[in-house]
């Protein structure tokens, strides 16, 4: 299905002195799509977001939001964007409700619309019962949720989330991820930066793997995994006649390689889940008594390692 383009970025470059922080970055996001920028700290993700949000100018390249060119001077166009900065951008002396209403007014909301939308967002982020409390009394997770709530209060066409789960406990993190999943289903385009592989895999329709200011690869999770050769690993643990089992499995279509010893076998295969049943049958038929079976699929960590030669968290 063709989605209406909300954000288009072409040939974006940003330099600080001799250092090129963002180097020829291009991508686009459609309505209802969640697009991830996955890369380690210092890869250039926040600089890209700052240019897309109109906070800093690009040296070269173009940014289009809802069909219009975005620059720091594009005042009106900024109402199409909801920015959730990496830092907690909330006022500690104000209540949750006051924080939402302040930024809502700056985004042009007023009167009943502002009141209604504030209530909806407080419900969405699970803070309706704490709306009247000053946010300095909130936990880190509650502050993070409010931080996101402010960004989506005015129903922006494009929601930009910059590492929204940094420093958050697992429970709040899951709550945040569920909220982001819900937003995409409402038709909002989401630009999501993270250095957590699991978050990118769970949330994003398409992912750009970024390192040293350049997009190294872009696509769906499956497309990116294909870049590594697209092979899975099946680990068979057990005893019995493992030698006969290895010989039988090597003859099975789809099996590329078999390694192993007395305690088990490791198979390299195409489409691990699809081959699981025949693999178990062949191994048992050859006299191997299985105690456990595990399929290990390549992940984005493997992709990043494959593309850059270093681990994602380096």
């Amino acid at each position: 299905m063709q989605r209406a383009q909300v954000l288009g970025v072409k040939g974006l470059v940003k330099r600080y002195g001799d250092h090129t922080v963002v180097d020829d970055v291009s991508f686009h996001i459609g309505a209802g799509e969640t697009y991830g920028l996955l890369g380690p700290n210092g890869a250039g993700k926040t600089t890209i977001i700052s240019m897309v949000s109109g906070l800093i100018p690009a040296d070269t390249g173009s940014i289009e939001v809802a069909g219009s060119a975005m620059t720091p001077a594009s005042t009106r166009l900024k109402s199409h964007i909801g920015l959730v900065p990496q830092e907690l951008a909330i006022y500690p002396d104000l209540t949750a409700k006051e924080n939402l209403q302040f930024f809502g007014r700056l985004q042009g909301l007023s009167g009943r619309d502002l009141k209604a939308r504030t209530g909806e967002v407080l419900d969405l982020i699970g803070l309706a019962d704490r709306a009247g409390e000053q946010t300095k009394k909130f936990s880190g997770g509650m502050k993070r949720r409010l931080n996101i709530g402010i960004g989506l209060l005015h129903r922006p066409a494009l929601l930009i989330l910059d590492e929204p789960t940094v420093g958050v406990d697992p429970q709040s993190r899951n709550s945040i991820l569920e909220s982001v999943e819900a937003l995409a289903t409402e038709g909002m385009a989401v630009l999501y930066t993270t250095h957590y592989m699991e978050e990118a895999e769970r949330l994003c329709d398409r992912i750009a793997i970024i390192d040293e200011g350049r997009i190294q690869a872009e696509g769906t999770r499956g497309e990116l995994v294909e870049l590594t050769g697209g092979v899975d690993r099946i680990d068979l643990h057990g005893s019995g006649n493992t030698g006969a089992a290895a010989s039988a499995l090597r003859r099975l279509p789809g099996v590329k390689h078999v390694d192993g010893g007395a305690s088990g076998l490791t198979l390299t295969v195409h489409n691990g889940p699809g081959l699981l049943a025949p693999v178990v049958a062949e191994a048992g038929g050859a006299g191997m008594a299985l105690s456990s079976v595990e399929i290990v699929r390549p992940d984005l960590e493997s992709v990043f390692l494959h593309l850059t030669g270093k681990a994602l968290r380096d």
Partner: protein, 390 residues
């Protein structure tokens, strides 16, 4: 414009809620005014309390003027005086032994000498514990003798003119005891001079205004440090709105704090600054001048800590040079430079209004303050931006 006022209202709400403005802009300066007035207020006119005094006097004058002089001393309106009459020979001893403040020995022919134009001598003896009360009493006796001397002069002049002796006596007595035709009364004029208490109230108000307006630029730096600045910049508000809002917050806080300090200072320390309308003009002008300094600070600093230091230095230099603690005297170029200090202009303006001056009388101080605001604002644009502006 809507975004601007939304930001201003939000900032004011936070400043009031965190109480730092109330403490630093109102409580601290009022406390400092109180301390300074306790320390220096005693030097102000009319504020010295004279203790009751005792005078030992001889009263052997055969006429009426000796008693008239002692009655005048005893009925002084500025202090309680008790006159105890003894013989002339006992005045010195009694004064020393009883701890009296002053002894007065009037000659037996005091009235005769005054009315006939003869020379006379009145002796005074200072008590062992002589203080300011003794000095006051001697001054009073001296002044009374001066008036009596007028009688002596009148008698001498009448004698030279050949007036009869009985007429001469009456003329001299009338000249000595009569009401003076010329009197000196103290009034007020727009002489740019405040009382000491007035100077302390005005000076401390001006000094702390420079700190108060700094809350605007500090707010901007706090936004950056909290991370809210980037979120504000991502909203659809016109460029320059954020810095304008911060300056406006500083200006409003400055005007309100200055008005409250002047009003509270007037009530607590008994100072009057004259026409409220003209004083309001001065307050608006000095707040504008002080706020313009924050534009320069915002250009030069990178952090709230640097802003605090810069604002404190500016406040202390301009405050002290402007006479916030004590009047500064200078001449030549330095005097001209100090005349351009907005705090000095503010205090000078309040001196004029306190003396009854109107809008036209404060035109020069107003021009100085508004000129300072204009120049500082323009100068800030020429300075390199080190990152605090929004």
């Amino acid at each position: 414009m809507r975004g601007l006022w939304t930001m201003v209202a939000n900032d004011l709400r936070q400043r009031i809620r965190d109480k730092s403005v109330v403490i630093f802009s109102l409580v601290v300066p009022l406390a400092l005014m109180g301390v300074l007035n306790l320390s220096f207020g005693g030097f102000d006119s009319g504020s010295v309390d004279l203790k009751p005094a005792v005078v030992i006097a001889s009263s052997e004058d055969s006429g009426q003027l000796g008693d008239a002089l002692l009655e005048a001393v005893e009925s002084l309106p500025v202090m309680d005086v008790t006159v105890r009459k003894v013989t002339a020979g006992d005045v010195r001893r009694e004064t020393k032994t009883t701890g009296a403040d002053l002894g007065i020995i009037l000659p037996a022919d005091f009235t005769t000498a005054v009315t006939s134009g003869q020379a006379l001598s009145v002796q005074v003896v200072e008590g062992d514990a002589a203080g300011i009360e003794t000095d006051v009493l001697i001054s009073v006796v001296d002044a009374l003798l001066g008036q009596f001397a007028a009688g002596t002069v009148a008698a001498e002049a009448g004698g030279s003119a050949g007036l009869p002796h009985d007429v001469l006596g009456g003329l001299a007595q009338q000249a000595a005891a009569g009401t003076p035709a010329l009197t000196l009364s103290e009034g007020q004029a727009s002489a740019e001079q405040l009382s000491l208490k007035g100077t302390l109230v005005a000076g401390q108000t001006g000094l702390f205004l420079l700190f108060t307006v700094g809350f605007g630029v500090l707010g901007l730096l706090a936004e950056r440090e909290k991370g809210t600045l980037s979120r504000l910049q991502s909203t659809p508000v016109a460029p320059g709105t954020i810095i304008t809002a911060k300056a406006l917050v500083g200006f409003i806080l400055g005007v309100v704090a200055t008005a409250i300090l002047l009003a509270a200072g007037s009530i607590l320390f008994g100072v009057s600054f004259g026409s409220p309308a003209v004083v309001a003009l001065l307050v608006l002008a000095v707040a504008a001048a002080a706020t313009s300094l924050t534009f320069i600070v915002a250009r030069l600093v990178r952090s709230a800590e640097q802003a605090n230091i810069a604002q404190s230095i500016l406040a202390m230099v301009l405050g002290i040079a402007g006479g916030a603690f004590f009047p500064i005297e200078a001449s030549g170029f330095l005097a001209t430079l100090m005349d351009l200090n907005p705090i000095a202009a503010f205090i000078r303006g309040l001196g004029i209004t306190a003396g009854g001056g109107g809008v036209t009388d404060v035109a020069v101080p107003l021009t100085v303050m508004l000129g300072f605001a204009t120049v500082a604002t323009l100068a800030s644009r020429a300075l390199p931006d080190r990152g605090a502006r929004a």
